[in-house]
Amino acid sequence: MLLIPWFIGMALFRVYPIIASFVNSLYQFQPIRGTREFIGFDNYVRIVGGSRNAYGDWVWNFPHFWDSVSATLTYVLLGTPLVLIMAFFVAFILNFKLKGVNLFRTAYYIPSILGGNVAVAIVWSQVFGGDGPVNAILSIFGVDPISWTRDEFFAPFTLIFLSAWQFGSVMLIFLAALQNVSPTLYEAASIDGAKKTRQLFSITLPLVTPVLLFNTVNVLLRHFQEFNAAYLITLRGPNRATDFLVILIYEYAFRRMQFGFALAMSMMLLLIIGLLTLIVFITSKYWVHYSD
């Protein structure tokens, strides 16, 4: 009885959209006439297919898709480890009986809360702007100003730094896990003569691996979803360097009203996310340590 609203919600807003996505990805939409026409898997062929041209060179049907895949994966695969390492490092330092831990905890968490706000995007684009503070610091070290938002190489890093800036929530989860590690384990280890670094790798790390798995999947998904920053700060990026899949999908769905094509790309995105998550889960058997 109590579950009825939840069931309706799940059916209407979660299950139905997935089915509707797949079904509609088999159609071609005519935005002006407002009609659609069944074309089978043609949208998918247009996305992932290619052919040889007159010179025998391979040409993709829709190279933008592959540009976006590469931009997305660059961002995801560089951003995720950076956030995880930073979060663990800071949590590790915070996890000692220090006065004022609560103050630091709160301060580090602020960026996570403000996160995707458009106001933050505004600030970020200026902090990394031509004459902004970042370049001002670099100039002290004699580095020439970098065009952080307009340069093909640096634009992804501007967004990765913004993501790393929001490491607070991940850090708090690590911290909670670290505080759960029983102090008797450390005492036993130091009696056995284990050094501090040895303790870190033999006790602390194995015991937080379940939480590391949780955080990895979480951060991975957050990076795949990143929309605001790329849309607002780097404006899809020079030479499509930050034209993430979500942005490309948004463009085709809501700007060009080509829902079928956009949905086919969205299914491809789900496939990529699914595969990557699956890899994380399968390999987790080898690196996640479950006590008892």
């Binding site: 109590l2 919600g9 799940m10 997935i18 949780f214 929309f227």
Partner: protein, 284 residues
């Protein structure tokens, strides 16, 4: 004696690292605040937070308050609240109900339902928004605030449902059973027995919903069209495009004012945020 000094050195190193990291993290925000009091020519090319002595200006704030040529900031705040308040109310009620039902009762197919929920958790919001957009278009719901909050009334956000379930596990079932013996139905048990205990986590859910809604830009961008329905995040995006040329101080003042409610709520309730996130990581 030597041991103590070594610990002190250690503590000093830790505090220094923490302070430096903290300063770097907060710097963009205080730079933003400082810059909204600077003349445009004083903003760039230096690292200083405060305006140069005697060169403070307060003119950016009234200008930024008139956010667009059509409306002031208060108009966009009110529009944001028009979808945000229903979002928070809907989310809190529906997620608590769903968590109670899932956490406390057995029903056939529970495993399957769980699997479905886990899978939907892996999917990006945008993947759902396209078909929902098409559905709302057919129902004539586009460009209404309802299009942004309807789903919050159906406990669609499994993340929050799990968060409440996790918290509920710490409440002994004997409490429910005692209430039942005293003649409370399930709904009464929930309202009079569990909700008071669940209060902190419910507040966390409400606060996080509020923050996410405040930050949401993609949703309004997709579902809202007319200028009358423009919310704060959309209006801010317009100034990002328009001001880029010269009005930097004004832009920072607008960004600062847009963040004030979020920051105020965060500082007033930071305990709930920190504990909520810690909870979501879960022990298992």
């Amino acid at each position: 004696m030597r041991r103590i000094t070594k610990m002190q050195v250690n503590a000093i190193i830790r505090y220094s690292i923490l302070t430096i990291v903290g300063f770097i993290l907060i710097y963009p925000l205080i730079w933003m605040i400082g810059s909204s009091f600077k003349h445009n020519i004083d903003i760039f090319g230096n690292l200083s937070i405060l305006p140069p002595a005697g060169r403070w200006t307060f003119e950016h704030f009234p200008n930024a308050w008139q956010l667009t040529s059509r409306n002031t900031m208060i108009f966009y705040y009110m529009n944001t609240l028009r979808f945000l308040i229903p979002q928070v109310v809907g989310q809190v009620i529906s997620c608590t109900l769903a968590a109670y039902a899932i956490g406390r009762f057995e029903f056939p197919g529970k495993k399957i339902v769980f699997t479905v929920v886990m899978v939907t958790l892996l999917m990006p919001e945008l993947a759902f928004r396209i078909p929902i957009f098409m559905l709302y278009r057919d129902l004539g719901l586009l460009d209404t605030f309802a299009s942004l909050y309807i789903q919050n009334f159906f406990a669609v956000n499994s993340f929050f449902v799990f968060m409440i379930i996790q918290f509920m596990r710490t409440i002994p079932r004997e409490l429910d059973e005692a209430a039942e013996i005293d003649g409370c139905g399930p709904l009464k048990t929930l309202i009079y027995i569990l909700v008071p205990v669940l209060r902190p986590i419910i507040i966390t859910v409400g606060l996080l919903t509020f923050m996410w809604g405040m930050n949401d830009f993609q949703g309004p961008l997709i579902f809202l069209r007319s200028p009358d329905n423009r919310v704060l995040s959309l209006a801010l995006r317009m100034i990002l495009q328009d001001y880029e040329v010269t009005h930097f101080g004004q832009m920072f003042a607008a960004a600062f004012m847009a963040l004030i409610p979020t920051l105020a709520i965060f500082f007033a309730c930071s305990r709930y945020f920190v504990e909520g996130v810690t909870q979501s990581g879960g022990k298992e």
